[in-house]
Protein backbone atom coordinates (compact mmCIF):
# COMPACT_ATOMS: atom_id res chain seq x y z
CA UNK A 1 0.00 0.00 0.00
CA UNK A 2 2.85 2.38 0.80
CA UNK A 3 4.56 1.56 -2.46
CA UNK A 4 1.31 2.57 -4.16
CA UNK A 5 1.30 5.88 -2.28
CA UNK A 6 4.97 6.48 -3.10
CA UNK A 7 4.35 5.68 -6.77
CA UNK A 8 1.45 8.13 -6.87
CA UNK A 9 3.69 10.87 -5.46
CA UNK A 10 6.22 9.85 -8.08
CA UNK A 11 3.67 11.03 -10.62
CA UNK A 12 1.92 7.92 -11.90
CA UNK A 13 -1.54 6.44 -11.44
CA UNK A 14 -1.09 3.55 -9.03
CA UNK A 15 -3.29 0.82 -7.63
CA UNK A 16 -3.21 -2.45 -5.75
CA UNK A 17 -5.70 -5.27 -5.24
CA UNK A 18 -6.37 -7.60 -2.36
CA UNK A 19 -8.97 -9.72 -0.63
CA UNK A 20 -10.19 -9.48 2.97
CA UNK A 21 -7.10 -10.09 5.14
CA UNK A 22 -4.93 -7.91 2.89
CA UNK A 23 -7.55 -5.20 3.12
CA UNK A 24 -7.28 -5.28 6.92
CA UNK A 25 -3.50 -4.93 6.63
CA UNK A 26 -3.81 -1.96 4.29
CA UNK A 27 -6.02 0.07 6.63
CA UNK A 28 -3.07 1.79 8.31
CA UNK A 29 -1.75 3.20 5.08
CA UNK A 30 -5.14 3.79 3.55
CA UNK A 31 -5.30 6.36 6.37
CA UNK A 32 -1.94 7.77 5.27
CA UNK A 33 -3.29 8.00 1.72
CA UNK A 34 -6.30 9.95 3.01
CA UNK A 35 -4.13 12.23 5.15
CA UNK A 36 -1.53 12.93 2.44
CA UNK A 37 -4.40 13.29 -0.09
CA UNK A 38 -2.83 10.76 -2.40
CA UNK A 39 -4.72 9.67 -5.52
CA UNK A 40 -4.73 5.87 -5.77
CA UNK A 41 -7.06 2.94 -6.21
CA UNK A 42 -7.44 -0.09 -3.96
CA UNK A 43 -9.54 -3.04 -5.07
CA UNK A 44 -10.89 -5.39 -2.39
CA UNK A 45 -12.31 -8.56 -3.91
CA UNK A 46 -14.24 -9.43 -0.78
CA UNK A 47 -14.17 -12.94 0.63
CA UNK A 48 -15.98 -14.34 3.63
CA UNK A 49 -14.35 -13.60 6.97
CA UNK A 50 -13.54 -12.94 9.74
CA UNK A 51 -9.82 -13.68 9.51
CA UNK A 52 -8.72 -16.01 6.70
CA UNK A 53 -12.36 -17.08 6.45
CA UNK A 54 -13.31 -18.74 3.21
CA UNK A 55 -10.59 -18.33 0.61
CA UNK A 56 -11.81 -17.35 -1.82
CA UNK A 57 -15.57 -17.53 -1.64
CA UNK A 58 -17.69 -14.43 -1.89
CA UNK A 59 -18.88 -11.98 0.73
CA UNK A 60 -19.58 -8.28 1.09
CA UNK A 61 -18.47 -8.10 4.69
CA UNK A 62 -15.91 -5.32 4.30
CA UNK A 63 -18.33 -2.52 3.45
CA UNK A 64 -18.12 -0.86 6.85
CA UNK A 65 -14.38 -1.44 7.00
CA UNK A 66 -14.19 0.38 3.68
CA UNK A 67 -15.95 3.32 5.29
CA UNK A 68 -14.41 3.36 8.76
CA UNK A 69 -11.51 0.90 8.72
CA UNK A 70 -8.60 3.27 9.28
CA UNK A 71 -8.48 5.19 12.54
CA UNK A 72 -9.72 8.75 12.84
CA UNK A 73 -12.47 10.64 11.02
CA UNK A 74 -12.47 10.85 7.25
CA UNK A 75 -14.59 10.23 4.19
CA UNK A 76 -13.85 7.84 1.37
CA UNK A 77 -15.13 6.91 -2.07
CA UNK A 78 -16.08 3.25 -2.60
CA UNK A 79 -17.46 1.76 -5.79
CA UNK A 80 -19.17 -1.61 -6.10
CA UNK A 81 -19.06 -3.21 -9.56
CA UNK A 82 -21.58 -5.92 -10.49
CA UNK A 83 -19.91 -7.37 -13.58
CA UNK A 84 -16.57 -7.76 -15.34
CA UNK A 85 -17.60 -4.94 -17.69
CA UNK A 86 -18.11 -2.69 -14.69
CA UNK A 87 -14.80 -3.84 -13.22
CA UNK A 88 -13.25 -2.32 -16.33
CA UNK A 89 -15.41 0.79 -16.65
CA UNK A 90 -15.48 1.61 -12.94
CA UNK A 91 -11.73 1.11 -12.53
CA UNK A 92 -11.26 3.99 -14.98
CA UNK A 93 -13.91 5.96 -13.13
CA UNK A 94 -12.20 5.16 -9.80
CA UNK A 95 -8.88 6.52 -11.04
CA UNK A 96 -10.64 9.64 -12.33
CA UNK A 97 -12.32 10.27 -8.98
CA UNK A 98 -9.10 9.59 -7.07
CA UNK A 99 -7.19 12.10 -9.18
CA UNK A 100 -9.95 14.70 -9.08
CA UNK A 101 -10.54 14.54 -5.34
CA UNK A 102 -7.02 13.47 -4.31
CA UNK A 103 -8.19 10.51 -2.29
CA UNK A 104 -7.82 6.74 -2.28
CA UNK A 105 -10.82 5.20 -4.07
CA UNK A 106 -11.92 1.70 -3.15
CA UNK A 107 -13.29 -0.83 -5.62
CA UNK A 108 -15.39 -3.03 -3.35
CA UNK A 109 -16.01 -6.06 -5.53
CA UNK A 110 -16.59 -9.60 -4.33
CA UNK A 111 -15.22 -13.03 -5.19
CA UNK A 112 -18.04 -13.78 -7.66
CA UNK A 113 -17.48 -10.66 -9.75
CA UNK A 114 -13.75 -11.09 -9.28
CA UNK A 115 -13.73 -14.63 -10.68
CA UNK A 116 -16.46 -14.17 -13.26
CA UNK A 117 -15.88 -14.63 -17.02
CA UNK A 118 -18.20 -12.49 -19.06
CA UNK A 119 -18.02 -10.43 -22.22
CA UNK A 120 -16.14 -7.18 -21.73
CA UNK A 121 -16.11 -4.46 -24.36
CA UNK A 122 -12.90 -2.47 -24.24
CA UNK A 123 -13.41 0.78 -26.13
CA UNK A 124 -10.62 2.32 -28.23
CA UNK A 125 -8.36 4.55 -26.10
CA UNK A 126 -9.70 7.77 -27.67
CA UNK A 127 -13.20 6.88 -26.44
CA UNK A 128 -12.01 6.57 -22.83
CA UNK A 129 -12.18 9.69 -20.68
CA UNK A 130 -9.42 9.95 -18.12
CA UNK A 131 -8.84 12.59 -15.47
CA UNK A 132 -5.47 13.59 -14.04
CA UNK A 133 -4.58 15.51 -10.90
CA UNK A 134 -4.62 19.28 -11.09
CA UNK A 135 -1.12 20.74 -11.13
CA UNK A 136 -0.07 23.84 -9.19
CA UNK A 137 -0.26 27.11 -11.11
CA UNK A 138 1.69 29.27 -8.65
CA UNK A 139 5.46 29.91 -8.76
CA UNK A 140 7.36 27.03 -7.14
CA UNK A 141 8.50 29.00 -4.10
CA UNK A 142 4.93 30.06 -3.35
CA UNK A 143 3.44 26.58 -3.57
CA UNK A 144 1.67 25.35 -0.45
CA UNK A 145 0.92 21.64 -0.77
CA UNK A 146 -2.33 21.78 1.20
CA UNK A 147 -3.81 25.10 0.17
CA UNK A 148 -7.18 24.23 -1.31
CA UNK A 149 -9.37 26.51 -3.33
CA UNK A 150 -13.15 26.61 -3.50
CA UNK A 151 -13.51 22.97 -4.57
CA UNK A 152 -11.62 21.97 -1.40
CA UNK A 153 -8.99 19.95 -3.30
CA UNK A 154 -5.42 21.32 -3.35
CA UNK A 155 -3.43 21.13 -6.61
CA UNK A 156 -0.72 18.47 -6.39
CA UNK A 157 2.97 18.68 -7.26
CA UNK A 158 4.79 15.41 -7.86
CA UNK A 159 8.16 14.55 -6.35
CA UNK A 160 11.10 15.71 -8.44
CA UNK A 161 9.39 18.71 -10.00
CA UNK A 162 11.33 21.21 -7.90
CA UNK A 163 8.64 22.31 -5.46
CA UNK A 164 10.58 21.01 -2.45
CA UNK A 165 7.42 20.25 -0.49
CA UNK A 166 7.04 18.36 2.76
CA UNK A 167 4.09 16.12 3.49
CA UNK A 168 3.34 14.21 6.66
CA UNK A 169 0.79 11.86 8.15
CA UNK A 170 0.73 14.16 11.15
CA UNK A 171 -2.00 16.78 11.32
CA UNK A 172 -0.61 19.57 9.16
CA UNK A 173 -1.29 23.10 8.03
CA UNK A 174 -1.40 24.39 4.46
CA UNK A 175 2.38 24.34 4.24
CA UNK A 176 2.31 20.62 5.04
CA UNK A 177 4.02 21.31 8.36
CA UNK A 178 2.92 19.38 11.44
CA UNK A 179 0.77 21.14 13.99
CA UNK A 180 -0.82 20.06 17.26
CA UNK A 181 -3.43 22.79 17.23
CA UNK A 182 -7.10 21.91 17.62
CA UNK A 183 -7.97 24.55 15.01
CA UNK A 184 -5.62 23.10 12.40
CA UNK A 185 -7.00 19.60 13.10
CA UNK A 186 -10.57 20.86 12.75
CA UNK A 187 -9.88 22.72 9.54
CA UNK A 188 -7.96 19.87 7.93
CA UNK A 189 -10.25 16.99 8.86
CA UNK A 190 -13.37 18.98 8.03
CA UNK A 191 -11.96 19.67 4.57
CA UNK A 192 -10.95 16.02 4.06
CA UNK A 193 -14.57 15.05 4.79
CA UNK A 194 -16.24 17.93 2.97
CA UNK A 195 -14.30 17.54 -0.27
CA UNK A 196 -16.11 14.21 -0.67
CA UNK A 197 -19.43 14.73 1.12
CA UNK A 198 -20.09 18.11 -0.52
CA UNK A 199 -19.36 16.75 -3.97
CA UNK A 200 -21.78 13.84 -3.76
CA UNK A 201 -23.66 15.13 -6.80
CA UNK A 202 -20.58 14.55 -8.87
CA UNK A 203 -19.44 11.33 -7.20
CA UNK A 204 -22.54 9.25 -6.50
CA UNK A 205 -23.69 6.78 -9.15
CA UNK A 206 -27.02 4.97 -8.79
CA UNK A 207 -29.02 2.71 -11.06
CA UNK A 208 -32.78 3.04 -10.62
CA UNK A 209 -35.40 0.81 -12.18
CA UNK A 210 -39.21 1.20 -11.98
CA UNK A 211 -39.06 3.39 -8.90
CA UNK A 212 -42.18 5.39 -9.78
CA UNK A 213 -45.19 4.08 -7.91
CA UNK A 214 -43.23 1.29 -6.26
CA UNK A 215 -44.48 -0.10 -2.94
CA UNK A 216 -41.24 -1.84 -2.18
CA UNK A 217 -37.72 -0.92 -3.22
CA UNK A 218 -34.99 -3.52 -3.27
CA UNK A 219 -31.66 -1.83 -2.64
CA UNK A 220 -28.45 -3.74 -3.21
CA UNK A 221 -24.97 -3.57 -4.76
CA UNK A 222 -22.28 -5.73 -6.34
CA UNK A 223 -23.16 -9.35 -7.13
CA UNK A 224 -26.14 -9.25 -4.72
CA UNK A 225 -27.80 -6.63 -6.92
CA UNK A 226 -27.76 -9.02 -9.89
CA UNK A 227 -29.40 -11.77 -7.88
CA UNK A 228 -31.86 -9.29 -6.42
CA UNK A 229 -32.79 -8.20 -9.93
CA UNK A 230 -33.89 -11.74 -10.75
CA UNK A 231 -36.09 -11.79 -7.61
CA UNK A 232 -37.50 -8.35 -8.45
CA UNK A 233 -38.51 -9.51 -11.93
CA UNK A 234 -40.31 -12.58 -10.48
CA UNK A 235 -42.11 -10.33 -7.98
CA UNK A 236 -43.24 -8.00 -10.76
CA UNK A 237 -44.62 -11.02 -12.63
CA UNK A 238 -46.72 -11.65 -9.54
CA UNK A 239 -48.10 -8.12 -9.90
CA UNK A 240 -46.12 -6.58 -7.04
CA UNK A 241 -44.91 -3.01 -7.50
CA UNK A 242 -41.20 -3.35 -6.84
CA UNK A 243 -38.51 -0.84 -7.65
CA UNK A 244 -34.82 -1.57 -7.77
CA UNK A 245 -32.08 0.74 -6.57
CA UNK A 246 -28.51 -0.35 -7.20
CA UNK A 247 -25.74 1.47 -5.35
CA UNK A 248 -22.86 1.75 -7.81
CA UNK A 249 -21.07 4.01 -5.35
CA UNK A 250 -21.65 2.86 -1.80
CA UNK A 251 -19.54 5.58 -0.17
CA UNK A 252 -20.23 8.48 0.11
CA UNK A 253 -23.67 7.20 1.02
CA UNK A 254 -26.63 8.64 -0.95
CA UNK A 255 -28.66 9.23 2.21
CA UNK A 256 -30.61 12.20 0.80
CA UNK A 257 -31.83 10.05 -2.09
CA UNK A 258 -32.73 7.16 0.24
CA UNK A 259 -34.61 9.54 2.52
CA UNK A 260 -36.53 10.96 -0.41
CA UNK A 261 -37.58 7.47 -1.57
CA UNK A 262 -38.45 6.39 1.98
CA UNK A 263 -41.41 8.77 2.10
CA UNK A 264 -43.11 7.05 -0.84
CA UNK A 265 -42.73 3.34 -0.12
CA UNK A 266 -43.78 0.63 2.34
CA UNK A 267 -40.33 -0.83 2.81
CA UNK A 268 -36.78 -1.25 1.60
CA UNK A 269 -35.54 -4.80 1.15
CA UNK A 270 -31.75 -5.01 1.38
CA UNK A 271 -30.01 -8.24 0.37
CA UNK A 272 -26.27 -8.23 0.95
CA UNK A 273 -23.64 -10.83 1.75
CA UNK A 274 -23.04 -9.69 5.30
CA UNK A 275 -25.24 -9.39 8.35
CA UNK A 276 -26.77 -6.06 7.44
CA UNK A 277 -24.03 -3.45 7.12
CA UNK A 278 -25.64 -1.31 4.43
CA UNK A 279 -29.19 -2.09 5.54
CA UNK A 280 -28.46 -0.32 8.83
CA UNK A 281 -27.07 2.62 6.87
CA UNK A 282 -30.34 2.74 4.89
CA UNK A 283 -32.31 2.55 8.12
CA UNK A 284 -30.34 5.54 9.41
CA UNK A 285 -31.04 7.49 6.22
CA UNK A 286 -34.78 6.73 6.36
CA UNK A 287 -35.30 8.55 9.68
CA UNK A 288 -38.06 6.06 10.53
CA UNK A 289 -40.16 6.95 7.48
CA UNK A 290 -40.34 3.35 6.27
CA UNK A 291 -39.38 -0.19 7.21
CA UNK A 292 -36.01 -1.57 6.25
CA UNK A 293 -35.80 -5.33 5.90
CA UNK A 294 -32.33 -6.79 5.89
CA UNK A 295 -31.81 -10.02 3.94
CA UNK A 296 -28.45 -11.18 5.23
CA UNK A 297 -26.15 -13.89 3.92
CA UNK A 298 -23.07 -14.73 5.94
CA UNK A 299 -20.84 -15.45 2.98
CA UNK A 300 -19.33 -18.31 1.05
CA UNK A 301 -22.07 -18.13 -1.55
CA UNK A 302 -24.75 -15.81 -2.81
CA UNK A 303 -28.45 -15.47 -1.94
CA UNK A 304 -31.00 -17.84 -3.42
CA UNK A 305 -33.31 -15.48 -5.32
CA UNK A 306 -36.26 -17.14 -3.54
CA UNK A 307 -35.10 -15.78 -0.19
CA UNK A 308 -35.18 -12.24 -1.55
CA UNK A 309 -38.51 -12.90 -3.29
CA UNK A 310 -40.02 -14.10 0.00
CA UNK A 311 -38.84 -10.96 1.75
CA UNK A 312 -40.42 -8.81 -0.99
CA UNK A 313 -43.72 -10.72 -0.79
CA UNK A 314 -43.84 -10.37 2.98
CA UNK A 315 -43.49 -6.58 3.02
CA UNK A 316 -45.57 -5.94 -0.14
CA UNK A 317 -48.75 -7.36 1.45
Amino acid sequence: MNAVLGASWGGVKAMTATSGPGFSLMMENLGLGVMLETPCVLADIQRAGPSTGLPTLPAQGDMMQARYGSHGCYSIIAISPSSPQEMFDLAIKAFGLSEKYRTPVLIMADAVVGHMSEKVVIPPPEKITTISRRKPSVPKEEYLPYQADSNLVPPMANAGEGYRFHVTGLTHDERGYPSDSVEVQDKLVRRLIDKIEKNKDDIVMLEQDEMNGADVVVCSYGISARIAKFAVERAREEGLKVGMLRLITVWPFPEEKINEIAGDIKAFVVPEINCGQISREIERACHGKTDVVSVPHLGGGVHQPGVILDAIRKVAK
Binding site: N2, L5, G6, L32, G160, T168
Partner: protein, 280 residues
Protein backbone atom coordinates in the same frame (compact mmCIF):
# COMPACT_ATOMS: atom_id res chain seq x y z
CA UNK B 1 26.10 54.09 7.22
CA UNK B 2 24.56 51.02 8.72
CA UNK B 3 25.62 47.61 7.67
CA UNK B 4 22.90 45.01 7.73
CA UNK B 5 24.16 41.51 7.91
CA UNK B 6 21.84 38.97 6.40
CA UNK B 7 22.32 35.74 8.27
CA UNK B 8 23.23 33.28 5.58
CA UNK B 9 24.24 29.74 6.23
CA UNK B 10 25.28 27.25 3.61
CA UNK B 11 22.56 24.90 4.82
CA UNK B 12 19.77 27.44 4.37
CA UNK B 13 18.99 26.11 0.92
CA UNK B 14 18.59 22.58 2.23
CA UNK B 15 17.01 23.15 5.63
CA UNK B 16 13.52 24.34 6.41
CA UNK B 17 14.70 27.08 8.73
CA UNK B 18 11.08 28.15 9.29
CA UNK B 19 10.64 24.89 11.18
CA UNK B 20 13.45 25.53 13.65
CA UNK B 21 13.96 24.86 16.52
CA UNK B 22 13.85 21.13 15.92
CA UNK B 23 12.44 18.65 18.40
CA UNK B 24 15.65 16.79 19.25
CA UNK B 25 17.08 16.81 22.80
CA UNK B 26 20.39 18.40 23.78
CA UNK B 27 23.12 15.84 23.22
CA UNK B 28 21.10 13.87 20.67
CA UNK B 29 23.04 12.77 17.59
CA UNK B 30 20.30 12.99 14.98
CA UNK B 31 21.04 16.64 14.21
CA UNK B 32 24.66 15.69 13.59
CA UNK B 33 23.61 12.97 11.16
CA UNK B 34 21.31 15.40 9.34
CA UNK B 35 24.13 17.94 9.14
CA UNK B 36 26.55 15.33 7.81
CA UNK B 37 23.95 14.12 5.31
CA UNK B 38 23.31 17.63 3.98
CA UNK B 39 27.05 18.20 3.62
CA UNK B 40 27.34 14.92 1.76
CA UNK B 41 24.38 15.89 -0.41
CA UNK B 42 25.96 19.24 -1.30
CA UNK B 43 29.29 17.63 -2.14
CA UNK B 44 27.66 14.79 -4.07
CA UNK B 45 26.73 17.28 -6.78
CA UNK B 46 23.22 15.81 -7.00
CA UNK B 47 20.44 18.19 -8.00
CA UNK B 48 18.40 18.60 -4.78
CA UNK B 49 15.23 18.96 -6.89
CA UNK B 50 15.67 15.33 -7.87
CA UNK B 51 16.41 14.06 -4.37
CA UNK B 52 13.61 12.84 -2.12
CA UNK B 53 13.87 12.02 1.55
CA UNK B 54 11.44 9.56 3.08
CA UNK B 55 11.17 8.96 6.82
CA UNK B 56 9.11 6.68 9.00
CA UNK B 57 8.15 7.40 12.59
CA UNK B 58 10.28 8.24 15.60
CA UNK B 59 12.82 10.90 16.49
CA UNK B 60 14.91 10.19 13.38
CA UNK B 61 11.70 10.06 11.36
CA UNK B 62 11.33 13.77 11.93
CA UNK B 63 14.38 14.44 9.75
CA UNK B 64 12.26 14.52 6.58
CA UNK B 65 10.38 17.48 8.01
CA UNK B 66 13.53 19.60 8.31
CA UNK B 67 15.26 18.73 5.04
CA UNK B 68 14.25 21.02 2.20
CA UNK B 69 13.88 18.63 -0.66
CA UNK B 70 10.66 16.83 -1.55
CA UNK B 71 10.22 15.00 1.73
CA UNK B 72 7.77 12.48 3.09
CA UNK B 73 7.00 11.65 6.71
CA UNK B 74 5.15 8.36 6.41
CA UNK B 75 3.88 5.67 8.80
CA UNK B 76 5.85 3.57 11.26
CA UNK B 77 8.21 1.22 9.45
CA UNK B 78 6.89 2.02 6.00
CA UNK B 79 9.44 4.51 4.69
CA UNK B 80 11.15 1.86 2.54
CA UNK B 81 8.04 0.70 0.62
CA UNK B 82 6.99 4.34 0.13
CA UNK B 83 10.48 5.05 -1.22
CA UNK B 84 10.28 1.94 -3.42
CA UNK B 85 7.10 3.28 -5.01
CA UNK B 86 8.71 6.66 -5.66
CA UNK B 87 11.76 5.07 -7.27
CA UNK B 88 9.79 2.73 -9.49
CA UNK B 89 7.38 5.48 -10.59
CA UNK B 90 10.20 7.89 -11.34
CA UNK B 91 13.63 6.23 -11.68
CA UNK B 92 15.18 9.71 -12.18
CA UNK B 93 14.77 10.39 -8.48
CA UNK B 94 17.56 9.84 -5.96
CA UNK B 95 15.66 8.23 -3.13
CA UNK B 96 16.94 8.48 0.42
CA UNK B 97 15.33 6.85 3.44
CA UNK B 98 16.29 8.58 6.67
CA UNK B 99 14.97 6.86 9.77
CA UNK B 100 15.81 5.19 13.05
CA UNK B 101 16.72 1.66 14.08
CA UNK B 102 13.34 0.89 15.65
CA UNK B 103 11.47 2.10 12.59
CA UNK B 104 13.70 0.41 10.00
CA UNK B 105 14.75 -2.78 11.74
CA UNK B 106 11.78 -3.72 13.96
CA UNK B 107 8.40 -2.79 12.48
CA UNK B 108 10.05 -2.03 9.13
CA UNK B 109 12.39 -5.04 9.24
CA UNK B 110 10.52 -6.98 6.60
CA UNK B 111 10.64 -4.07 4.15
CA UNK B 112 14.32 -3.56 4.94
CA UNK B 113 15.39 -7.13 4.15
CA UNK B 114 13.35 -7.30 0.95
CA UNK B 115 14.55 -3.94 -0.35
CA UNK B 116 18.13 -5.16 0.23
CA UNK B 117 17.34 -8.53 -1.38
CA UNK B 118 15.78 -6.89 -4.43
CA UNK B 119 18.63 -4.35 -4.51
CA UNK B 120 16.25 -1.44 -4.90
CA UNK B 121 18.20 1.64 -5.83
CA UNK B 122 17.98 3.72 -2.64
CA UNK B 123 20.18 4.99 0.15
CA UNK B 124 19.07 4.11 3.65
CA UNK B 125 20.47 6.15 6.51
CA UNK B 126 19.78 4.35 9.76
CA UNK B 127 20.32 6.45 12.87
CA UNK B 128 20.88 3.81 15.53
CA UNK B 129 20.56 5.03 19.12
CA UNK B 130 20.04 1.52 20.49
CA UNK B 131 16.54 2.18 21.87
CA UNK B 132 13.14 3.73 21.17
CA UNK B 133 13.69 7.39 22.01
CA UNK B 134 10.47 9.14 21.14
CA UNK B 135 8.23 6.80 23.11
CA UNK B 136 10.28 6.83 26.31
CA UNK B 137 13.35 4.62 26.00
CA UNK B 138 11.97 1.14 25.50
CA UNK B 139 14.29 -1.62 24.29
CA UNK B 140 14.30 -2.17 20.57
CA UNK B 141 15.70 -4.48 17.91
CA UNK B 142 19.25 -3.16 18.34
CA UNK B 143 19.39 -2.72 22.13
CA UNK B 144 22.47 -4.67 23.28
CA UNK B 145 22.03 -7.70 25.48
CA UNK B 146 22.13 -6.65 29.19
CA UNK B 147 21.51 -2.93 28.44
CA UNK B 148 19.07 -1.16 30.73
CA UNK B 149 15.93 0.34 29.19
CA UNK B 150 12.45 1.31 30.33
CA UNK B 151 11.25 -2.15 29.38
CA UNK B 152 14.36 -4.02 30.50
CA UNK B 153 15.09 -2.48 33.91
CA UNK B 154 17.14 -5.53 34.95
CA UNK B 155 19.02 -5.74 31.66
CA UNK B 156 17.92 -6.65 28.15
CA UNK B 157 17.43 -10.38 27.64
CA UNK B 158 16.77 -10.16 23.89
CA UNK B 159 19.52 -10.68 21.36
CA UNK B 160 19.82 -7.67 19.06
CA UNK B 161 20.21 -7.42 15.31
CA UNK B 162 23.64 -6.64 13.94
CA UNK B 163 22.43 -4.14 11.31
CA UNK B 164 25.39 -4.22 8.87
CA UNK B 165 25.38 -8.04 8.94
CA UNK B 166 21.62 -8.10 8.35
CA UNK B 167 21.91 -5.76 5.35
CA UNK B 168 24.94 -7.54 3.92
CA UNK B 169 23.43 -10.98 4.24
CA UNK B 170 20.28 -9.79 2.46
CA UNK B 171 22.25 -8.54 -0.51
CA UNK B 172 22.87 -4.81 0.04
CA UNK B 173 25.32 -3.29 -2.44
CA UNK B 174 26.91 -0.94 0.05
CA UNK B 175 27.08 -1.16 3.84
CA UNK B 176 28.98 1.12 6.20
CA UNK B 177 28.78 2.02 9.86
CA UNK B 178 30.16 5.00 11.74
CA UNK B 179 29.29 6.81 14.93
CA UNK B 180 28.44 10.49 15.29
CA UNK B 181 32.00 10.95 16.57
CA UNK B 182 33.20 10.16 13.03
CA UNK B 183 31.63 12.98 11.07
CA UNK B 184 34.19 13.05 8.24
CA UNK B 185 34.13 9.31 7.70
CA UNK B 186 30.34 9.32 7.98
CA UNK B 187 30.12 12.04 5.33
CA UNK B 188 32.44 10.15 3.01
CA UNK B 189 30.36 7.00 3.39
CA UNK B 190 27.17 8.93 2.72
CA UNK B 191 28.67 10.38 -0.45
CA UNK B 192 29.72 6.91 -1.55
CA UNK B 193 26.28 5.55 -0.71
CA UNK B 194 24.55 8.33 -2.68
CA UNK B 195 26.75 7.57 -5.67
CA UNK B 196 26.20 3.83 -5.35
CA UNK B 197 23.81 2.03 -7.64
CA UNK B 198 21.53 -0.32 -5.71
CA UNK B 199 20.62 -0.65 -2.05
CA UNK B 200 23.08 1.23 0.16
CA UNK B 201 23.00 1.40 3.93
CA UNK B 202 24.85 3.81 6.19
CA UNK B 203 24.35 3.11 9.88
CA UNK B 204 25.15 5.99 12.22
CA UNK B 205 25.48 5.00 15.87
CA UNK B 206 24.11 8.01 17.67
CA UNK B 207 23.70 9.16 21.28
CA UNK B 208 20.38 9.28 23.05
CA UNK B 209 21.47 10.67 26.41
CA UNK B 210 17.92 11.44 27.51
CA UNK B 211 16.77 7.85 27.40
CA UNK B 212 19.44 5.31 26.52
CA UNK B 213 22.53 7.02 27.92
CA UNK B 214 20.92 8.07 31.18
CA UNK B 215 20.01 4.50 32.01
CA UNK B 216 23.37 3.10 30.95
CA UNK B 217 25.89 5.24 32.81
CA UNK B 218 26.44 7.64 29.91
CA UNK B 219 24.13 10.44 31.06
CA UNK B 220 25.24 13.12 28.57
CA UNK B 221 25.74 13.22 24.84
CA UNK B 222 29.39 13.97 25.52
CA UNK B 223 29.71 10.79 27.61
CA UNK B 224 28.36 8.77 24.73
CA UNK B 225 30.63 10.52 22.23
CA UNK B 226 33.61 9.81 24.50
CA UNK B 227 32.58 6.17 24.62
CA UNK B 228 32.42 6.07 20.80
CA UNK B 229 35.86 7.68 20.51
CA UNK B 230 37.45 5.26 22.94
CA UNK B 231 35.74 2.11 21.78
CA UNK B 232 35.36 2.34 18.03
CA UNK B 233 37.45 -0.12 16.10
CA UNK B 234 38.10 0.90 12.52
CA UNK B 235 38.37 -1.89 10.04
CA UNK B 236 37.51 -1.32 6.38
CA UNK B 237 36.38 -4.43 4.61
CA UNK B 238 35.84 -6.39 7.82
CA UNK B 239 33.36 -9.22 7.96
CA UNK B 240 30.06 -7.63 9.08
CA UNK B 241 29.37 -10.85 10.98
CA UNK B 242 31.91 -9.60 13.50
CA UNK B 243 30.20 -6.21 13.86
CA UNK B 244 27.66 -7.09 16.57
CA UNK B 245 27.32 -4.38 19.20
CA UNK B 246 27.71 -5.60 22.77
CA UNK B 247 26.82 -3.77 25.95
CA UNK B 248 29.45 -1.07 26.49
CA UNK B 249 31.79 -3.08 24.25
CA UNK B 250 33.76 -2.21 21.17
CA UNK B 251 31.97 -0.79 18.12
CA UNK B 252 33.28 -1.94 14.78
CA UNK B 253 33.13 0.90 12.24
CA UNK B 254 34.07 1.18 8.58
CA UNK B 255 32.87 0.07 5.20
CA UNK B 256 31.77 -3.55 5.18
CA UNK B 257 30.30 -4.03 1.71
CA UNK B 258 30.86 -2.27 -1.61
CA UNK B 259 29.84 -4.57 -4.45
CA UNK B 260 28.08 -4.41 -7.80
CA UNK B 261 24.79 -6.26 -8.18
CA UNK B 262 22.08 -5.64 -10.75
CA UNK B 263 19.31 -3.50 -9.33
CA UNK B 264 15.59 -4.27 -9.29
CA UNK B 265 14.90 -1.88 -12.16
CA UNK B 266 17.85 -3.10 -14.23
CA UNK B 267 16.69 -6.70 -14.01
CA UNK B 268 13.18 -5.65 -14.89
CA UNK B 269 14.43 -3.82 -17.97
CA UNK B 270 16.44 -6.84 -19.08
CA UNK B 271 13.32 -8.96 -18.76
CA UNK B 272 11.10 -6.45 -20.57
CA UNK B 273 13.60 -6.25 -23.42
CA UNK B 274 13.70 -10.03 -23.65
CA UNK B 275 9.93 -10.37 -23.68
CA UNK B 276 8.82 -7.29 -25.63
CA UNK B 277 11.99 -6.25 -27.41
CA UNK B 278 11.79 -2.73 -25.95
CA UNK B 279 12.54 -1.18 -22.62
CA UNK B 280 9.08 0.03 -21.70
Amino acid sequence: MTLTLEPVHKMDKLLRSDRMPHIWCPGCGIGTVVNVFLNALIDSGLNPDKVVVVSGIGCSGRAAGYIKVDSFHTTHGRAIPFATGLKIANPELKVVVFSGDGDLIAIGGNHFIHAARRNIDMTVICVNNLAYGMTGGQKGPTTPLDAISQTSPYGNTEQPFNVPYLAASCGASYVARWTTAHVRQLKKSMEEALAKKGFSLVEAISPCPTLYGRMNKQPSGLDQMRYYRQNSVYSDGADPKEAAITYNGKIMVGKFVDVERPTFLELQEVSLKKVFGTEK
